[in-house]
Symmetry: D2
Subunit: 345 residues, 4 copies
Amino acid sequence: MKAAIIGATGYGGAELIRILHTHPHVSIHSVHATTMIGESLTKNYSHMRSFIDKEIEAVDIEKIRKEVDVVFTATPSGVAANMAEEFLSAGVKVIDLSGDFRIKNPDIYKEWYKIEPAKSGLVNQAVYGLTEWIEEDLTDVNLISNPGCFPTSALLGLAPVVKSGLVDTNSIIIDAKTGVSGAGKGLSQATHYSETNDNFKAYKINQHQHTPEIEEKIKGWNNKSKFVTFTPHLAPMTRGIMSTMYMTATEKVTEDQLIELYNEMYKDDYFVRIRKKGEYPTTKDVSGSNFCDISITYDERTNRITVISVIDNLVKGASGQAVQNMNKLFGFEEKAGIDFMPLFP
Amino acid sequence: MKAAIIGATGYGGAELIRILHTHPHVSIHSVHATTMIGESLTKNYSHMRSFIDKEIEAVDIEKIRKEVDVVFTATPSGVAANMAEEFLSAGVKVIDLSGDFRIKNPDIYKEWYKIEPAKSGLVNQAVYGLTEWIEEDLTDVNLISNPGCFPTSALLGLAPVVKSGLVDTNSIIIDAKTGVSGAGKGLSQATHYSETNDNFKAYKINQHQHTPEIEEKIKGWNNKSKFVTFTPHLAPMTRGIMSTMYMTATEKVTEDQLIELYNEMYKDDYFVRIRKKGEYPTTKDVSGSNFCDISITYDERTNRITVISVIDNLVKGASGQAVQNMNKLFGFEEKAGIDFMPLFP
Amino acid sequence: MKAAIIGATGYGGAELIRILHTHPHVSIHSVHATTMIGESLTKNYSHMRSFIDKEIEAVDIEKIRKEVDVVFTATPSGVAANMAEEFLSAGVKVIDLSGDFRIKNPDIYKEWYKIEPAKSGLVNQAVYGLTEWIEEDLTDVNLISNPGCFPTSALLGLAPVVKSGLVDTNSIIIDAKTGVSGAGKGLSQATHYSETNDNFKAYKINQHQHTPEIEEKIKGWNNKSKFVTFTPHLAPMTRGIMSTMYMTATEKVTEDQLIELYNEMYKDDYFVRIRKKGEYPTTKDVSGSNFCDISITYDERTNRITVISVIDNLVKGASGQAVQNMNKLFGFEEKAGIDFMPLFP
Amino acid sequence: MKAAIIGATGYGGAELIRILHTHPHVSIHSVHATTMIGESLTKNYSHMRSFIDKEIEAVDIEKIRKEVDVVFTATPSGVAANMAEEFLSAGVKVIDLSGDFRIKNPDIYKEWYKIEPAKSGLVNQAVYGLTEWIEEDLTDVNLISNPGCFPTSALLGLAPVVKSGLVDTNSIIIDAKTGVSGAGKGLSQATHYSETNDNFKAYKINQHQHTPEIEEKIKGWNNKSKFVTFTPHLAPMTRGIMSTMYMTATEKVTEDQLIELYNEMYKDDYFVRIRKKGEYPTTKDVSGSNFCDISITYDERTNRITVISVIDNLVKGASGQAVQNMNKLFGFEEKAGIDFMPLFP
C-alpha cells in the first residue's frame, strides 16, 4: 500500500514520516509541500538521514491520486477542504490532520475558525477519528477527520463519565497545557526560545477553536450538554499535553468505582492506560508514543471529579492517531507501526 | 534595625538575603540553620560572593533575641511554632514564612498538615500577611504569618470578585502551575533534572495543604463559601507560579466592568498590576520581582470568569512579601528594598 | 536467545529494556537490581506499562547463569569485575556497561578510578566495544567492555584523523557537553532541577575517568600519542553529548579531503553519519537513536581541525551500543533492534 | 545627566533600561528604535510596567543631540558607524554596543563583517571598553566601543596569563557556550523553541566575527600572538556565557601560582571574582549581574592551563558593561547602578 503525505515539512508531516517509514503494510510513496519543493527532506530534517531521502514535491493532485491508496493532509486550515474531493473521487482515502472536517455544524465552524467551512457533503461523510470512540461502520468510509491534539486528550479523559451520565456536563472545565511543538514549525514571538524558556503562558482564553470540537462530541454522547470551558496554556517543553479536567458528579460515586469504570470502558483499548488510585501520569510517561495515560480522582468535600489525561501532542495528538485510524480503515492491526515504548527520561 | 534569618540555607532564606542586603533600613545581623553550621554562606551559594560572607550559625534563641529587632523564620513545618514565643516575649518581631500560623482552626491544621498545630494563643495573635489585604491595625502586632506561595497568587486574583459577591465561591476552581524552586533545595526524585525537564506533572490532587489556607481566607471575605478545588502542578521551569482560576458569575457582568473593578480595588497597590482587556500575564513578566500580574476574562457562553494571576514564587510568594510585611510592620515605605524590575528575558 | 539485565533500575538498564523488548532475536529473561527487589519495573518506570511487567529480582548469579545466554551489567564501578567470571565460566557472555574492563593498564585504572582494578585475566580477555572499530576476531570472545559515553563520542570523531596520522595527537583537546541523564538516576545537588535548569557547568576538569580510556585507545591507533585534554560539561538538557574537538594538522590538508576521508572510513558503518561541508550536527539530530553524527572543519589560519561529534548518551553512548555489540557477538545483523529514527523535535 | 537609548526594543536596549532606570546619576531621557515607533515600551516588554512608560521615538539625531549627555547605541552592524559623528560633534558622548568600532584594522573588519568599516577617524578615537583593562586616559574620550559578549568573557579570562607571558598565545583555544538571548529578539529557525530546547548546537565555526576582536586585543597585550581558535555554541538556556579556554604554559607553573596571579591582577576589580582552587563557576552564579567569575586549572600531564570564565551575556556581556563604562567616562563610582546580586536559583 502506498501513502502520500501533503504538508510534509511541518512537524505533523515529519512525525508521519517517522512513523510510516517502519510501518509493516504501508510505504511512503511521496511527500508534498508548498515550500522547499525540489529539495531533499533531510535538508529540512537532518535526523531523517539514512532513513528517507525523498525529494519534496509540489502538490499535483492529478498525479498523486493515480499513484497512492491513501493521502494524509497535514495542512493549514482550508487546504484539505479544497483538495479532498478530488482524491476521494479517484478512490483514494484521505486522512486529514487539520480542522477542516472536524465540526459538523457549519455556522459553528465559521464562528470559531473565521473562514468558510468545507462543503457540507464532505463534512458529513467525514468520520471523526477519535479512534477509541469511532462508532461508525468503516466499511465504506473514505475520509477521516483526525481530531485536534487538545480534543484527543480531553475527550479520551471525559468519555467514560460523560457517556455514563455520571457528571454534569455543563460543569466541565478543561485546563490544558501543551508543549511548544503544538504551535508548529512556523516562527513567532510566542515560540521564540528566549521568551518561552522558563516561562508559562495562557492563550486564546475562551476563544480556542478546539472548544467547539470538544463540545460537539460531548453533545453527541450526552444531549444535555451545552458547553465546556477550555483554556490552553503553553508550557516550556517541546512535546506533551496534559489536560486537567474538573467536573461535578451527578450522583454518589467513589474513586474506586470511577477507576473501575475507566478500566472497564477501555479494557480493549491498547493505547489508553488507566492509572492506579493515587498515581498521576506525567507528560514524559507517554513521550514519543501513541499512548494516552489517564488518572481519575474524586473529592468528597467538593463532589468534584478531577481527570488527568496526557498524550504526546505529535503522536496520539496528531500523526500517531492518524496512522491508528489508517490501520482501522484498512483493516490492519490497530497497533501496526505505532507500538513505540515512550522515550524516558 | 537588625534582622536574623533562621533557615538561611534554603531558597526562601537565600532570597531573603538577596533582598535584605540592599534594604535601606535593615541590616542582616546573622543567619542561622541546622546544617552547614560554621560554614560561610557563599560555600552554599556562590552567587552571594562579594555581597555577604556571614558564617552560618546554629539557632541560639537566647542569643538571637538579645541582638535583633526582627526574626524571619524560613523553616520546615513545626519549627517556628516552637520558637516564636521566646522571640515575642523578648520584644522581637517574628515574620514566619512557614505554614505554622496560617490556619486559625486547629482541627483543620491537623487534618491537612498531619502534625500538631501551634499553640492557639500564638496562632490567634498572628496576622495573615497577604499584604494587600491586611485589614488589622498593625500597631501592636508582633507576629506575621506570611502566606503560602499558591495562596498568595490565588487570593490576590480572587479577592475583588469574592469580596464583591460577584461569584459563586463554591464554584471556584484553582488550577495552579509552579516552577520547581517551590519544592525547595532538598533533593527528591520529583525534582531530579532528568525526570523534571521537558515534563509536566500534577501532584497532591485534593490534598495540598494550601487548600484550607485559601478556603479560610475566602470564607473570611464571603461567609457563604464552603470550599474550593485546588490542583497544583509542577512545570519545567525554575521560578514562577501561574494560577488559572475558574468561577461562575452570580449576576450579569461584562469583562470591562470586571477589569475596572480590579483596577479600582488595587489602585493603591503598587505590587499588583492589572492587565488590559485581551492581555494575559506570563510568569516571566514578574520573574525576580515582587509583582503580581492579573488578567480577567469573562465568557458569556458559560457565564464563567477566568482569572489569571502570576507571581515569582520566591519573591511575592515568599521572601519579597515577607519584606513587604516587615515594611508595613515597622512603618517603612511599602516598596523599600523590594522595588526590582523583573528580569526579562 | 535470552538476556538478563543487571542494574535494571538505572537509566542505562531502562534504556536496555526499551531497546531489547523489540529485538527480533533476543528476549528479556529477567531484570535484576539491588534496590526495589520484588517490585514491578513499571512502579519505577511508568512509561514501560503495557510492554513489560517483570518483577525486579535480586542478583542470584547461580540462578541467572543457568537460564540466560547473555548478561548485561549496567552497574556501578567494581560490581561487574566481581561477577563476570562466574557468568563466563558457565558459558554466558557478558556485556559490561561500566568502566570495570575498559582500561587495560591496572595502574592507570587505579589512579583514575581510585579503586582496585578487575583481575588482569578478565581485563585482558575483554574486547573494547567501540563497535565501528573492533578489530578483534569475535569468534571466541565472551566479554565485551562497552565504552563510556564520552569516549564513544570522542573516539568516533577522532579515529579517522588519528589513524591516518593527519594530526598531532598530543594537540588534541576534547571539550565535551553532556545532557544530565549521563549523571544517572541517583539524586545529587548537581542534578537538582532548580540548580541545573538554565545553567551551564564544567566538572572534573583534568580528572574525569574517561580521559585514560580515550588516551589508551588513541595510543593503540598511534603510538606517538601521550595524552589528550578532556573537559566534561553539564548542559541543561536531558539527553545528548556533543564533543567539540580541536587538533593541529601535521600536513597540508583541505576540508574537502578531510570530509572525504571520514566518508571513506565510515562507508560501511550505518550508525555513523558524516555531515556535508558547512553543516554541523546538533544533539537533537540523534536523540533516541544509535547514530553518531560528525562534522569536520579545517581552518587554514590556525592549521587546526575541529571535529564535532554528537550521540545520544543513553543509546550510542551506552545501551544502544551494548546491543550493537551483542549483535556482532552473536552474528545478528548490526542494526537488529536498534534502527530507530531519532525523535525530532 | 540624561541618556538616550537607540535600539531600545532589542534585548540589549531592554537591559539598558532595566539597569539605567535605577541609576543614581543618570535618567533615561528618551528611547528610540526603527520599529514600534509611537508605541509604549511596555507594549513590547510587559515586565517594565510601573517603571517606565516612555513612548518609542524615531531616531531624530538633531533632536536627540540637543537634549542628552550620552547616547547608547544598541543597534545592528553599520548603524552606529553612520550616526556617531553627529553626536560627538555636538558634545554628546557615545557608547556603542555594536561591533562598529571594535576592530581597529579596517581590512580585518571588512573580512569578518562583510560590510564597509566605519571611518578610520572614528574607529581610532573609540576606546575599547573592556572596563577592567582600559589603559587609556579617559579625560577627553567621547566614544566607547563596548566589547562583544564572547570577547568580554574570553579576554577577562585570558588577560592575566597573556599579559604575564605565561602562555603560548597561539595555542589558545576558546570553546564558548552562550544562552539563546545572545541571538537577540529577532526570530529565526535557530532560536525557535521546539528546535532549541533540549538541544545543543555549534555555529559559525572558524567564522565568528568575535574572533578578530579577541585576537586584536591579545596581540595588543602580547605581540607574539598571531591567532586564536574560537568556537561558539548555543546552549539551551536563556542567559549566560561560559568560555572554556585551553592554552599551553610557556614555563613551569602551579595551579596555586596561577590563582594567585589572577587574584593579584584583579584585586581592585569588583566585578571579577576569582574562584578558589577546585571550584568552577556556573553561568547561574552570575545571572542577572555584572560579575565575571573565573576559575583556573593547570594540568601537569599536558602542561595545559584551562580557564573557565562566565558572565551574563546581557549584563557584563553588553548593557551592564556599557553602564560600567559610562560610570568610568563620567567619573561616577564604578559600581553605580550595576551592583546587583545574581538571581539564584
